[in-house]
Symmetry: C2
Subunit: 413 residues, 2 copies
């Protein structure tokens, strides 16, 4: 259905960090891109930074200052993907193909000025089109863009997927392929649950919830973009030609795939903050979350307990890298509102079950809590969405929790 | 005379790779730049890639392909200086200063399209001026620019000096300081000649010849630019505050400093090519050197022997990195002209004596050849300029040659 090989057309292929981690892997990626080109389909490559490059750059910045400023951090980060793009294009040249490595700026990816967590405003792919028209293969450095001030920005960690889908939208590509070191979207992380199975199709909505629940397979912003503009996204292996998982609209899913638990997700990147003893009066939640929003910190699993004696606790989670910054922002706020204390933990994790229509059937929630109780796992907080139930648990309990839930929701079969 | 500290004014300071080789050294550079800013002098920093970064990037490219294409190579290379600029600016931020890291593109450095050996066409420093006006410290990634096609170019190895002097010209700076891991310009490389002494002043012309003769202290293009636009250049240590060597016009030199040997230079980056048995007819030299020029290979020490039986040998040197490429270009040319063979050596080196008016006094040449003969060192070829005498010798003979010449030209004193 979605295969356009040999039929002309245009696809965007994005290769993640593990797929370009060394020179041999980059040559492999170049061969795969060349294969698409040879088949008569025009192709635009999008590449991430090699392996641990981004972590290495962060470590380097931390050696210079504990709190690097965002504009310079974005510029520093952006170099990782430029290196991969240059090497991939070089490899295609060596194989006899015309190719051009393009930075986010050269690819026309304009963003707002949230330097390290920028959002794409629009894409003017004039250079990419020109290169495609002359038969060249554009290789775009993922994850980055530029502002009206000609400053370099990055889209936040893991956001090369977003670059790829946004380019597919701007170029009206037939599909966007996300090529990774995994074979597709699984019912659970196979490293934790040996019985996990690959899904052939999944809906944008389910994929989105999986990503929000911690699945690293596809970045949530990429999924949202794909859904909003109706770009088919395929997640597949960069190491072999198996078809992977196709992400489609819910009404294109097989009938029997609906209204059941589709997958288990977990997220270890959880820092929890609790503001204890908060006077319970109007405007408190705004006072807490407004400064975090201003600083562009992503907040999740917000829980406010029922108040006793007009005093309540507010707790929520942020990414662990944002934990110190969030606490620094909240200490003066908590003091001003007369709260008792600000405490935090970096030992918790999220475990989630995801599937269309879960919330409409309370039996799923009961089954999840019962399964965790049977496994002797304590639940710290619970949040739910229409198609997801998430429990905050001790991070050490994640592997047994994932295995128990995978079995009790019959995903092993 | 040239000190403008505390008097307003503007200086450009360039820090080389060894001066920014790790996080602590980058912090040291940031402190020095901040010191100039604090003194009331506006300052623009220009930085090289950290330590061996450029070599590491070349090695990475070579793992992907033996012969990387120039456009992608330039893009790859350019990332090294961007990393240093971002980290230096970050460090200034951490110290409480407004600073902005700028890529060559953001700094307005426009070049021609010789991707890896580009030349600056002009500089439109509008962003740098805007940042200076608001009291910020611009930190520019050296060595790079952009073309009219918005492609990233690099100016060739070691050319961050050129960026700095060109910026000093464009900004009408009071002077350009080149801060390095050496204290200034020496009478010889102190690693080879322990008796070598630091020079307080040297003329542009002498500096240029020293650079062309292999001195790594200041890039020849930077010196030429400084001379053409009359920008005073100071070479000094990035590790302490000693005044270094000032490069001035010849007529500003101390009287007694003229018309004598000023320094010994050596160059190990020598690859020699000999085209043997060339029919001696008009147009031969053009046929040999035109393809090398087209490929932007720098050629030096050209020697054509007197012909015997209408057959001659042509030999010349290129950088060792260009040796394979030059041979590849010349094989078909040599065949077509009916030459006997193309041979090469990468075991030779240049040793030179430099000083104003040397060529006007044949006694200097005789003394050089005699000194080398006394040391038992064979001379392969000789070239001279107005102020330089260069001998091609075996690379193993460079240290004793440098010491012998340093002594016989009384530079030890």
């Amino acid at each position: 259905m979605l295969s356009l090989r040999g039929m002309g057309g245009l696809i965007v292929q994005k290769y993640g960090g593990s797929s370009v981690a060394n020179a041999d892997l980059i040559k492999n990626v170049a061969r795969r891109i060349a294969g698409v080109h040879e088949s008569g389909t025009r192709v635009v490559g999008v590449v991430s930074a090699m392996g641990d490059t981004t972590d290495d750059l962060i470590a380097l910045a931390k050696q210079v200052t504990a709190d690097p400023n965002d504009r310079e951090m974005a510029l520093l980060w952006s170099t990782g993907e430029v290196v991969t793009a240059a090497l991939t294009s070089m490899s295609l040249h060596a194989m006899g193909y015309e190719a051009v490595a393009l930075t986010g700026f050269q690819a026309g990816i304009r963003t707002n000025a949230l330097h390290t967590k920028a959002q794409i405003v629009d894409i003017d792919p004039v250079r990419i089109r020109r290169e495609l028209e002359r038969g060249a293969i554009p290789i775009v450095a993922g994850f980055q863009g530029w502002t009206d001030d000609l400053d370099i920005t990055v889209l936040g960690r893991g956001a090369s997927d977003t670059t790829a889908v946004a380019l597919a939208v701007a170029l009206r590509a037939d599909r966007c392929e996300i090529l990774k070191d995994v074979d597709g979207v699984f019912t659970a992380d196979p490293r934790l649950v040996p019985q996990a199975r690959k899904l052939d199709v999944i809906s944008y909505e389910e994929m989105l919830e999986l990503a929000r629940a911690g699945s690293q397979v596809l970045h949530p912003r990429a999924t949202e973009l794909g859904e909003a503009y109706g770009v088919p996204i395929v997640v597949r292996s960069s190491f072999h030609e198996a078809p992977g998982t196709t992400i489609v609209r819910g009404d294109q899913m097989p009938m029997e795939g609906r209204r059941r638990v589709r997958a288990i997700a977990h997220d270890l990147d959880v820092g929890r903050i609790t503001i204890g003893g908060v006077p319970d009066r109007p405007g408190i939640a705004y006072a807490v979350f407004h400064p975090l929003e201003e600083a562009a910190l992503n907040v999740d699993v917000i829980v406010q307990n029922v108040s006793h004696d007009n005093v309540t606790d507010i707790s929520f989670t942020v990414g662990r890298a944002d934990l110190d910054k969030a606490i620094r922002l909240l200490r003066p706020v908590a003091q001003e509102m007369g709260a008792r204390e600000v405490s935090s933990s970096d030992r918790l994790a999220k475990i989630s079950v995801v599937g269309s229509g879960l919330a409409a059937n309370p039996g799923y929630a009961a089954k999840m809590f019962g399964t965790l109780a049977d496994a002797g796992i304590n639940i710290v907080s619970i949040t739910t969405s229409e198609i997801r139930i998430t429990c905050l648990i001790d991070e050490a309990h994640v592997p047994p929790a994932a295995r128990a839930l995978h079995q009790s929701f019959q995903l092993d079969e």
